[in-house]
């Protein structure tokens, strides 16, 4: 088994682990980390599979660099949103939030306050 294949197999494993994490975990921060794991898995497959006769192929390296930039941007956006969500509601998961429910509940609270 060549080194490239080992990298690719590890990449597959990381991707599946990350995918499972994004779909199954509850805490937002863990899900964001899991997304990063997914991305790293895909990058490893890209670099690992593309090795030809022991010499690395430069094109996928450039792709991975681009991919890392995209992943950093996505992570930054996700973290900003997660912080905002935490600041607004004090929660660290979005598992059981019904958007309509939240609004109705808030309106009911407002009405109760107004009645007092």
């Amino acid at each position: 088994m060549s080194a490239g294949l080992i990298y690719a197999a590890t990449g597959c494993l990381l991707f599946v682990l990350g995918l499972g994490g994004v779909l199954l975990l509850k805490a937002l921060l863990r899900r964001i980390l899991a997304f990063n794991l997914m991305g790293s898995g895909a990058f490893l497959v890209l670099v690992g599979l593309a090795q030809r006769d022991g010499t690395p192929d430069p094109v996928p390296q450039a792709m991975v660099l681009t991919g890392i930039v995209v992943a950093v941007a996505a992570t930054a956006l996700a973290l900003t949103l997660a912080r905002r969500w935490h600041a607004l509601t004090g929660r660290d998961d979005i598992a059981r939030v019904r958007d309509t429910g939240l609004q109705i509940r808030r309106k009911a609270n407002d009405r109760r306050k107004a009645a007092r």
Binding site: F35, A42, V45, V59, G67, V70, L77, A78, L81, R84
Partner: protein, 483 residues
């Protein structure tokens, strides 16, 4: 033509340019920059249309670098129609947004819109799978930013859920690209079309499955629609219109491109495969319409109607082998729905802004004080129901024609019942709007909105109907597409 003046490159550069300027400049310059930029983009598309009509397709190597290092931009009839739709709808929505946000624009609305348009234009023009991944992410991240622009807890939750869905979708796509590059050493869509055969290794089948499923997730086809209604229904009206009319079409376009191009050999080897998107599409039409009929809030009704109408786009896949009809039906449906849904969301936005209630019941009596907006809503409804002479009618007609020719009568049944169900949720709103306000309902008449708010909605809705009358050049453009 000098490469510096190539409209292909400027279609991507212009929105990037004005978005950056809008980010740096003060908020009040945003609308002017956006309108000037989108106007110039529209001119670029028209220039490009001339080229494509005479040559069939048009290519450009970014920076003059040859493939595989360089990025190849290509335009053909299919991408041209999507580009036209995008710039046309964006121009109307920019006008609407300028007046809708007359008091306070959500932070970064104009720059994000520019980046979104740059990503969409690049997506329609890219000919390589990795570049398409980057454009997908650009579109997704800008769209998530726009959903969150409202700033409320519900919007942040919708944005987060949308973000996670879109990241999983593009992650699956990227993994597929990695497997494809590992197998063939290229990501050029046109080269892969000839390289991939029915005897492709398992990794390529896996790649195809992952990429197409990822795109279905981004297009919100049932059962992946869960993120769409809160994101589209909760965002400010101009954003909902942008997302529902254009953004979901971008990932559908890419799905169609991959299906017809690189993965054509795989999808032809397994004819039963095409029934999967069609069956999901049929389920989406029924479920989305049902939820729209039951919706409590007006914008949720429109958002669920998007879930249903997206289903029509996927009904064409079992029919694609039988000729140009099915492809024409799909693209015409995408165009007509894009115009109609933009009109419906902005009309709903005006109704909510003026009426002060976001519930469906809140439109009661709107016929008296908001006739133009309501007329726009109804006209858009005509397209969604598929009544003649609208674009939606012609699209369904072509679809039914293709379904009968291919011997798939169940598609006819689904298409027709979807139109009936659309009739129910559209008339549910119209019936309420024509109800007289009750006697003890002595609320003062709301202030009239700016004329621009009402007439942009009307122009979009009228466009969705008129396209049914003037579809011949559009259909000719699509018929010339060589997948």
């Amino acid at each position: 033509m000098s490469p510096l003046l190539d409209p292909l490159a400027w279609l991507i550069l212009l929105p990037l340019l004005w978005a950056t300027l809008a980010f740096v400049a003060a908020d009040r310059h945003g609308p002017a920059l956006a309108l000037a930029g989108i106007g110039a983009q529209l001119l670029c598309v028209i220039a490009l249309a001339g080229d494509v009509a005479s040559h069939g397709s048009n290519g450009h190597l970014a920076g003059g670098w040859a493939e595989p290092l360089g990025i190849r931009l290509v335009a053909d009839g299919l991408s041209l129609v999507m580009l036209l739709l995008t710039q046309g709808v964006a121009l109307a929505l920019a006008l609407y947004a300028r007046s809708y946000f007359s008091r306070a624009t959500p932070p970064a609305f104009w720059p994000l819109t520019g980046f979104l348009l740059a990503g969409m234009n690049a997506l329609f023009l890219s000919g390589d799978l990795f570049n398409l991944y980057v454009t997908l992410e650009l579109v997704g991240l800008a769209a998530v930013g726009l959903v969150a622009a409202g700033g409320g807890a519900a919007q942040i939750a919708a944005a987060l859920r949308y973000l996670l869905a879109t990241l999983v979708g593009s992650g699956a796509y990227l993994f597929g690209v990695a497997l494809i590059y590992g197998s063939y050493g290229t990501v050029s869509a046109s080269l892969l079309g000839t390289l991939i055969t029915a005897e492709a290794p398992l990794a390529v089948w896996l790649a195809g499955g992952l990429m197409l499923t990822g795109l279905l997730l981004k297009t919100a086809l049932l059962p992946f629609h869960f993120w769409l209604p809160p994101a589209h229904g909760g965002a400010p009206a101009p954003v909902s219109a942008l997302l529902s009319a254009l953004v979901v079409k971008a990932s559908f376009y890419l799905f169609l491109r991959l299906w017809l191009g690189p993965f054509a050999a795989l999808t032809e080897a397994l004819p039963g495969l095409a029934q999967v998107p069609a069956a999901l599409g049929a389920a989406a039409i029924l479920w989305g319409s049902w939820r729209a009929i039951r919706a409590d809030r007006l914008k949720m009704l429109v958002a669920y109607s998007t879930v249903a109408q997206l289903g029509y786009l996927f009904l064409i896949f079992p029919l694609l082998g039988t000729g140009a009809l099915a492809l024409q039906a799909g693209i015409l449906q995408a165009t007509a729905h894009g115009l109609a849904k933009a009109a419906m969301f902005v009309a709903a936005g005006t109704l909510i802004k003026v009426g002060g209630s976001d519930r469906v019941l809140g439109v009661a009596g709107a016929a008296a004080h908001l006739p133009v907006s309501l007329f726009a809503f109804a006209l858009a409804g005509v397209t969604l129901m598929g009544l003649p002479p609208s674009g939606g009618f012609l699209a369904k007609w072509l679809l039914i024609d293709a379904a009968l020719a291919a011997g798939q009568p169940w598609i006819v049944v689904v298409a027709l019942s979807g139109g009936l169900l659309a009739g129910i949720y559209v008339f549910r709103v119209l019936r309420l709007a024509f109800r007289r306000p009750t006697a003890h309902d002595d609320v003062p008449l709301p202030q009239r909105p700016a004329a621009l708010l009402e007439w942009t909605a009307f122009a979009l809705a009228a466009g969705s109907v008129l396209i049914g009358l003037g579809a011949a050049p559009l259909l000719a453009l699509i018929a010339g597409v060589q997948p």
